[in-house]
């Protein structure tokens, strides 16, 4: 194939919005956790477990983790887009990044509800 410049994928806005929303979620969670930890002051393993036994903490942590993974996906994808010029290598790296992040999300959910 002749090496022509191909642009016009017609996406990007949704990711841009999600990147901003997820950043706000992560910032709010950080603040929320600082307050929770200051109030409960967990020092032992059982105390830490107790913190995560609250439904609200589980809910917030889950949202935080999902935000983190989606935010990471956009950031890492942008890195591949900037620096990896070969389309086949870039596609492979995109797929590997998505697979790793989806795996982490499942792993995180399992840990969170096992606590």
């Amino acid at each position: 194939m002749i090496n022509r410049i191909v642009v016009g994928a017609h996406y990007g806005l949704k990711d841009w919005i999600i990147q901003r929303v997820s950043a706000v979620v992560m910032a709010a969670y950080s603040l929320f956790m600082v307050i929770v930890l200051l109030v409960l002051c967990p020092t032992t393993f059982d105390a830490w477990r107790n913190v995560f036994s609250f439904g609200l903490v589980k809910f917030a942590t889950f949202l935080f983790a999902l935000s983190l993974f989606y935010h990471a996906w956009i950031g890492i994808r942008d890195l591949w887009m900037d620096y990896v010029k070969s389309v086949s290598i870039r596609l492979t790296l995109h797929a590997l990044t998505v697979l790793a992040l989806v795996g982490y999300a499942g792993w995180m959910a399992a840990i969170l509800w096992r606590l």
Partner: protein
């Protein structure tokens, strides 16, 4: 008339003769009538006529003499000699192919500019006199139409360095918003469609290098933000 000697280090490269670029140390006598860097360059050129750079209007309107001055892009004709750290380091605009010395090949830059269709699109028959705007509508174009396409901003942008073939760049996006903001233009939808792309628009991560270097004091980051705002408005 008092004169003083100024030291310069100039990037020299002639692809036809040189294997690789080199830096040339050269000094020149300037007097109090020499106010701008371009004045010194004119004297440098008289001293060594092989030094190549572009220039035309010498008053910040044509945008020809954009170069990297002590590590920052700017126009030689608008840069004061007073206060310039010596030796004054002069390099071509970064990220574009060098034709010779301080002259770069702007093809890629203008290709991106043309890709946003930098002209009014209006299919209505032209009125007898002119297409009118209210003062408020005209106000929105201030800070957009003044761009002289010197390429200082786009060549200071890392996103443009990595993807000059796909990312429109700050200058092109500023011009794109100039027509998106124009109430006389009828192609808003197509213009937004044309830009909604992870490369063309969303390579901008708002690091604001463009704002930092613009010799006309314009704010492409703000314009890019407004394009995104229009897209969000259309989307939600």
């Amino acid at each position: 008339m008092t004169t003083r000697t100024m030291q310069f280090r100039i990037y020299r490269y002639d692809p036809d003769k040189d294997e690789r670029p080199r830096m040339q140390d050269i000094s020149v006598e300037v007097d109090e009538q020499d106010r701008k860097l371009l004045d010194a360059l004119t004297k440098l050129k008289a001293k060594d006529e092989t030094i190549a750079y572009r220039r035309s209007c010498r008053e910040g309107v044509c945008g020809s003499d954009a170069m990297n001055i002590n590590g920052k892009n700017g126009l030689a004709c608008l840069t004061d000699l007073e206060g310039l750290e010596q030796p004054v380091l002069l390099k071509p605009l970064p990220g574009l192919p060098v034709i010779r010395d301080l002259i770069v090949d702007m093809t890629q830059f203008f290709k991106q500019y043309h890709s946003i269709k930098p002209y009014l699109i209006n299919n209505d028959p032209p009125p007898e006199r002119e297409r009118l705007q209210s003062p408020e509508e005209r106000e929105e174009l201030n800070g957009l139409y003044e761009c002289i396409l010197c390429a200082c901003c786009s060549t200071a942008c890392p996103s443009f360095w990595w993807n000059p073939d796909k990312f429109v760049g700050p200058a092109g996006l500023l011009a794109a918003y100039r027509f998106l903001a124009d109430t006389r233009d009828q192609a808003t939808g197509e213009r937004l469609d044309n830009l909604e792309d992870p490369y063309r628009l969303f390579r901008c991560h708002s690091i604001m290098n463009c704002v930092d270097v613009c010799p006309k004091g314009l704010n492409p980051t703000l314009a890019i933000g407004k394009i995104k705002e229009m897209m969000v408005k259309r989307y939600v």
